[in-house]
């Protein structure tokens, strides 16, 4: 059993467990699952004097739970890779550890931050939460995510 935990988990364990995040968060906290809103929260907290209405109107004090949740993800990331893995594995390729790799991550990161805020959600809020709630805008969002990802992979 312990050996199995230390190995990468199969999809039929990983997927259902991710799905269970939705009811867990709802039942324990009453909150709707989503991650990318945390970028807005953090920006609003770091720039309290910003005149931009998107940041000024962010009620981040109502979202302390979300900031704690993403802090938890960082902690869980450590536990998963260092305490629950036979040996820690890297999650970015060696080829990213140079100037051009960093530039790629900067561009990609900006696209992730900009895109998820423009779309008002990411894989968590739209794909996992929105699709679980049978919301058609989240299906449109998810299809759009894949159009962008496939275009980048096969055309660019």
């Amino acid at each position: 059993m312990w050996d199995k935990i230390l190995q990468p988990w199969p999809w039929y364990i990983t997927g259902p467990l991710i799905g269970l995040m939705v009811p867990s968060l709802l039942l324990f906290t009453g909150k709707t699952f989503g991650i990318s809103g945390s970028f807005r929260r953090i920006d609003a907290i770091c720039l309290p004097k910003s005149k931009l209405s998107y940041l000024r109107t962010d009620r981040w004090r109502d979202y302390i739970w979300q900031l704690l949740m993403v802090a938890g993800i960082v902690i869980g990331g450590y536990i998963g890779n260092h305490l629950l893995s036979a040996e820690p594995v890297p999650f970015l390729p060696e080829s990213y550890y140079n100037t051009s790799g960093v530039i790629k991550l900067v561009i990609g990161g900006i696209l992730v931050g900009f895109g998820t805020r423009y779309a008002n959600g990411c894989t968590s809020g739209h794909t996992i939460m929105g699709l679980s709630n049978l919301r058609w805008p989240s299906l449109v969002a998810t299809i759009s995510f894949f159009i962008g990802g496939l275009f980048t992979t096969f055309v660019l």
Partner: protein, 138 residues
């Protein structure tokens, strides 16, 4: 810390562990997904939505309340054009960085510190959105 906040932290820790152990935060798995070289991520996403949907059906059907007895109200995201434009832009970033927002946090915790670059850039991207929001089509 209130019960709610403690539980949010614990849900985050669980999510982080699952993302790592399921390789969902791996650039390599995301590449295999977008290149259709592996069904793994599709099965993960598909089964997570099935379990999430069944859970929500049960919660709604039984009119369940939170553990502290509050009504459950699921916040629904409305549609606007940003869902499409922003969604495509995010998808491009996802393919490049190998990480959507949850996995960015998990990558950092897992010791892939290079993901801090992704994280800070994502905060910059969110700021760029804040800056351009009034001018963008929605």
């Amino acid at each position: 810390m209130s019960l709610k906040r403690t539980m949010a932290l614990l849900v985050g820790i669980a999510f982080g562990i699952i993302l790592v152990k399921g390789q969902v935060i791996s650039w390599f798995e995301i590449q295999k997904m977008f290149r259709f070289q592996s069904a793994y991520m599709y099965l993960v996403i598909g089964s997570s939505v099935v379990v999430g949907a069944i859970s929500l059906l049960i919660i709604k059907r039984l009119e369940m309340k939170t553990v502290s007895g509050e009504e459950i109200e699921i916040r629904e995201k409305p549609f606007n054009k940003g869902v499409i434009y922003g969604g495509i832009i995010f998808g491009m970033g996802w393919a490049i960085t190998g990480a959507c927002p949850g996995p960015i946090y998990a990558q950092i915790g897992s010791g892939t510190y290079l993901a801090l670059v992704t994280f800070v850039s994502a905060l910059g991207g969110a700021y760029l959105y804040a800056l351009l929001q009034p001018k963008l089509p929605h």
